[in-house]
């Protein structure tokens, strides 16, 4: 039994129907627990005051904003190489979720930046990169909407996703070169294994990150199922009209 057998829409729907209830419950409870823990039961930071509580929204959404694009990149590649429809539809389903995550990261960042940096917005590399990522999401979604034939749309958006990824990385470094930033370094440096955030803040943040990740997964599974059903309905409709 290989993983590719789930590229069959029927099997995919069956599996996702089985997994989804669990996924929804755990993801929403993780988000709720993480946020409540963070909001009610963590101390204020001595420099940032209570605004440190925004981290439980900002970091997980930013993380998922990037991971969503990464997932779209992988599913696009799978579609281009192996032509599994489920893969292309999963990429389509993930894009609006990624867009919203990017928006949350930008909004919470701006709200946090106003009291802390004294400005809503600065042309800082991280902020600018996220704005560019937001534009990429918009373009990607617009292209899906604009192309009528679904297979052609999947092809074109996949290539756009690949090319866009290259340019997104390029923009990241270009922007870094262009302006040195205000933004602090990463909160969770995986590579060094150290922590720049103390434990009190870290555990609720971790729960919240897991929650956002699972929520993303649940949303994408649900939305992919929606897209599969829409495609099937459309195909059947065409068949009916031909028969009539």
């Amino acid at each position: 039994m290989s993983i590719w057998s789930y590229a069959n829409p029927v099997k995919f729907l069956a599996l996702s129907a089985k997994v989804q209830p669990v996924l929804w419950v755990t993801s929403i409870s993780c988000v709720v627990v993480g946020l409540i823990w963070g909001f009610f039961f963590t101390p204020d930071d001595f420099r940032q005051g209570s605004t440190v509580k925004i981290i439980y929204l900002h970091v997980p959404s930013a993380l998922m904003a990037i991971n969503a694009w990464f997932m779209m990149l992988i599913t696009s590649l799978i579609w281009l190489v192996r032509r599994h429809h489920v893969s292309a539809l999963a990429a389509k389903a993930a894009a609006p979720v990624g867009l919203v995550m990017t928006l949350i990261a930008l909004v919470t960042g701006a709200i946090w930046g106003q009291p802390m940096w004294g400005t809503w917005w600065a042309w800082d590399p991280r902020l600018t990169s996220f704005l560019i990522l937001f534009l990429f999401y918009l373009g990607y979604i617009a292209l899906w909407e604009a192309v009528e034939d679904p297979d052609t749309a999947a092809d074109l958006t996949s290539v756009l996703c690949l090319v866009g990824s290259v340019f997104a990385v390029l923009s990241r470094y270009a922007v870094q070169f262009w302006n040195q930033g205000l933004h602090q370094g990463t909160s969770i440096p995986v590579a060094t294994g150290e922590r720049t955030v103390s434990d009190v803040f870290f555990y609720p943040l971790l729960v919240s990150m897991i929650g956002f990740g699972l929520l993303f997964l649940a949303l994408v599974l649900y939305r992919t199922g929606t897209e599969i059903r829409l495609r099937r309905a459309q195909a059947l409709r065409v068949r009916l009209e031909r028969a009539a």
Partner: protein, 52 residues
């Protein structure tokens, strides 16, 4: 019950409010589209069941 948010209460609350609202809209749109898709598929399947 409510923790003391100090002078940044507006910022923190608006950040939570805005994010949760965005998430709620996303989930609502997702569910609405999902329901519409299920209904559309059922319609078509019934029709083709009748004809074929």
């Amino acid at each position: 019950m409510m923790p003391d948010l100090g002078k940044y209460a507006t910022e923190v609350l608006s950040a939570y409010g805005a994010s949760l609202a965005l998430l709620a809209v996303l989930i609502w749109l997702t569910l609405r589209r999902g329901k519409a898709a299920r209904a559309a598929l059922q319609d078509v399947e019934q029709e083709s069941g009748k004809n074929g």
